[in-house]
């Protein structure tokens, strides 16, 4: 049997809640799949949709964004801004033939190490089921 597909997932974690929550998963020694690799941003509102598309363009099979729970944003409003982008991002990804499940926004507070591990595990399983993105190569005439 072929080796199990290991999805590559990029996560953008806000510094205040979700990155801290991911740290807590660590200090609590909660185990979760190594497929999700995080990038720290100050706020989920900083997650430019460009980052998401760039991740997919560079070979990610999934993109996860985590921020503070609504109402708990360290910057009051940033996570609401990210939340507003989600339906458009999903629509846009659909246009590119990318399944909605490959992009996920979730809320992980600084106290939710267990939830972070859960979200990562779920997302990894889901993307694994979807399989690799398998972009058809663009043959370059120049460069």
């Amino acid at each position: 049997m072929a080796e199990e597909f290991e999805p590559r997932i990029v996560a953008f974690l806000c510094r205040w809640c979700s990155y801290t929550g991911a740290d807590l998963a660590g200090t609590s020694r909660i185990k979760y799949p190594a497929n999700v690799v995080p990038i720290k941003v100050m706020c989920s509102g900083r997650v430019d949709p460009t980052f998401i598309l760039k991740s997919f363009a560079d070979g990610a099979d999934g993109v996860l964004v985590c921020g503070c729970h609504p109402g708990d944003c360290h910057y009051n409003e940033g996570n609401y801004n990210m939340q507003k982008r989600v339906p458009m991002i999903k629509d846009m990804l659909k246009g590119f033939g990318i399944e909605g499940e490959r992009f996920r926004l979730d809320w992980v507070s600084a106290a939710e190490g267990d939830k972070f591990a859960e979200v990562v595990t779920e997302m990894t399983d889901e993307v694994r089921k979807l399989g690799p993105l398998n972009w058809k190569e663009i043959k370059e005439a120049v460069k």
Binding site: D23, V41, D48, T50, K54, D58, G78, A111
Partner: protein, 653 residues
């Protein structure tokens, strides 16, 4: 500029990292990365020799950028930035790869852990090349402090700071300071009277020139950052002028409205519409409960000082402060449905712990007598531990005070009603503090019955003659291994602590995180127990988690010490993550202005471009994401830096 020469340091963290991540493999991989001039591994990078290595290597190998792959940047970024600066490089030419919290501690498979560590290092190495030297902004510290909450934590913190000669605004939502402690009679384990130790401190608050006490006041909004907060406080109308009122009590004597529930007495008695919570209240002045006042005007006429104004209005004040201490305390778990099974609100002789505190208090509703509602003394009293605590159906946490308070209650019953049988129904006795175990022993010798088992329910259906007219507690005695029925005359529920009802409001106006149990989240559970994630905001006492008085006072002093340390320094460095608009690119769509939560962006008609007021920008970066012209950049989080991280994570390892 010459080619970057990056030094990569891989930390073992003892065996915390090295037992899961193949350090040699990671180092070998790091050597293959572009611009890497040096790769080293070390047992403890954060130690002095570890930091010293960086310094030596920078000089010897002409390193230009440093990557340390070790623990979380939230843990040691400051440490290594210091080391990098010591080595003569700008502290921002540095990046951490978190291969402990995000890799070795959370990954079972060693190969996968090693791979993930490589990805994070590749991302950090690529990112750091794009780092620019930055200078943290230095700002002055306003030496004034706002303390929110006037319980023992707030009182202690305020006094410590004020006694150091610094101004404190003490904001209390009730009409008096004192908090829960003011309601207690005796305190465990020493049994000294709460009033004897608390009221002198309350009086000191009133007398201290450096303290501006604001009662009936609530913090509505906080703006700014460490050293420079603006705090909006709503001072609710008291209807009695605090300056003029002498506390003579004439108004109260003549007030015709007598049926106002007395919250200070846990509603066990009534007060008048014009009231003073208790005789030693601070400030020692009256207030009117407008929900009950009939506006008859008798008090206005009777007041010799002309201090009463029934048309007084709330005031909203703004104070400036450099630091804030949150000491908003706790409330008792009060889920009605849950408490019903213990007969609370059904049987009149089932009391909460705070109600019983008032029963034992000399100036309480019973004058300090332990009596049933009918005025007779109980023959048997049961004290139920862990009501609403250590219970998946209520709060999972241990409230830390219940055991000791229950022991105290048992002792007080024995003292006031000699010969009464006292039962303590407990899950475990947690007598962990100084003198606590000794107090427990003392209670055992006082012939108090200890039954290991959590009270299941309180009923009044008698099965035997002995149970007639009694309250019966059903409990599984886990030492005997049987269900018991214990008939008593009075039940005291030792109810657990929850965050104060105001906690969620405070959390949102101060942008504070809360832990799962709802208490405010400290910056670090061990090393920064009174700091929060927001610089300049501290937390003390039961607002941070269930705590007894000694721990609360210790924490209050710790918070005060932390504040004084900043005030004493006078200036503080702010992280440089603010955003900037490149006016030659800004087209003036004003989207950035509409998303900025801090009104930190204004539109300059002269430049035809938006402009960010740096002191007001907190660096969330939302405007950067939203700017469709790509005209806004965020220091430390440039698009280009994040692109490099994405590429690093996704490169083949």
């Amino acid at each position: 500029m010459s080619e970057p020469r990056i030094g990569v340091y891989v930390c073992h963290c003892g065996t915390n990292i090295s037992q899961t991540v193949d350090i040699a493999d990671v180092c070998g991989f790091s050597k293959t990365l572009a611009n890497v001039a040096l790769v080293k591994e070390y047992k403890y990078m954060c130690s002095d020799p570890g930091q010293e290595t960086i310094k030596v290597d920078v000089e010897k190998n002409k390193l230009t950028h440093i990557v340390v792959s070790s623990c979380s940047p939230l843990m040691h970024e400051g440490t290594f930035r210091g080391a990098v600066e010591n080595a003569g490089l700008n502290e921002y030419l540095f990046q951490m790869a978190n291969i402990r919290e995000h890799v070795s501690w959370v990954t079972e498979d060693k190969i996968k852990a090693t791979e993930k560590a490589k990805k994070l290092i590749a991302a950090a190495v690529r990112r750091v090349v794009k780092h620019q030297p930055l200078k943290p902004t230095e700002v002055d510290i306003n030496p004034d402090t706002v303390v929110i909450g006037g319980g023992i934590a707030g009182i202690e913190a305020a006094l410590t700071i004020a006694n150091a000669g610094k101004k404190v605004y003490l904001v209390e939502k009730d009409s008096t300071i004192g908090g829960h402690m003011a309601k207690f009679d005796k305190t465990f384990p020493t049994l000294d009277c709460a009033a004897c130790i608390l009221t002198p401190k309350m009086v000191s608050i009133a007398q201290n020139r450096n303290i501006e006490l604001m009662t009936l006041s609530e913090v509505e909004e906080i703006k700014g950052f460490v050293g420079n907060f603006t705090v909006k406080i709503r001072k609710k109308a008291r209807y009695v002028d605090e300056e003029l009122c002498t506390g003579c009590g004439d108004c109260e004597k003549f007030c015709p409205v007598k049926n106002v529930p007395n919250e200070f007495e846990e509603n066990l008695s009534n007060k008048k519409a014009i009231y003073r919570a208790f005789p030693q209240a601070v400030p020692a002045v009256y207030a009117i409960d407008m929900a009950y006042c009939k506006r008859c005007g008798v008090c206005v006429k009777k007041c010799g000082k002309n201090a009463i104004n029934l048309d007084a209005k709330d005031e909203v004040l703004e104070v400036r402060a450099g630091n804030i201490i949150v000491a908003t305390g706790y409330d008792l778990y009060d889920n009605k449905k849950y408490l019903e099974k213990y007969g609370y609100n059904t049987y009149e002789n089932v009391l909460t712990s705070l109600e019983f505190e008032r029963y034992t208090h000399a100036s309480g509703p019973t004058g300090g007598k332990v009596v049933k509602k009918d005025g007779t003394e109980p023959e048997a009293v049961a004290i139920l531990h862990c009501v609403g605590s250590r219970d998946v159906n209520a709060n999972e946490h241990c409230s830390r005070i219940c055991c000791m308070q229950s022991l105290k209650f048992g002792h007080l019953v024995k003292e006031k009603v000699p010969g009464a049988e006292v039962y303590n129904l407990y899950i475990d006795i947690r007598a962990f503090g100084k003198g606590y175990e000794e107090f427990y022993k003392r209670c055992i010798h006082e012939d108090i019955h200890f039954i290991r088992g959590k009270g299941a329910e309180v009923i009044d259906t008698a099965l035997t003659k002995d149970e007639q007219g009694k309250l019966i507690i059903k409990v599984e005695d886990t030492l005997l291994g049987e269900i018991r029925r214990i008939p008593v005359d009075m039940v005291i529920l030792s109810i657990g602590m929850e965050p104060s009802k105001s906690a969620s409001r405070i959390a949102s106006s101060l942008s504070l995180s809360r832990s799962k149990d709802g208490f405010f989240l400290e910056k670090h559970p061990k090393l920064a127990p009174v700091a929060t994630a927001t610089d300049g905001i501290y937390v003390a006492g039961a607002a941070q988690g269930p705590k007894d008085i000694p721990d609360t006072v210790a924490q209050a002093n710790a918070a005060a010490g932390a504040v004084l340390s900043i005030i004493n320094k006078g200036r503080v460095l702010l992280e440089s993550v603010t955003s900037t608009v490149e006016s030659s690119k800004c087209a003036g769509c004003k989207l950035c202005i509409s998303v900025c939560p801090y009104q930190a962006i204004e539109f300059s008609d002269e430049d035809k471009a938006s402009r960010i007021i740096e002191a007001m920008c907190k660096g969330c970066g939302t405007c950067v994401a939203v700017c469709p012209s790509g005209a806004i950049t965020q220091k430390g989080y440039l698009d280009g830096q994040i692109f490099e991280e994405i590429e690093g994570i996704l490169q083949k390892v």
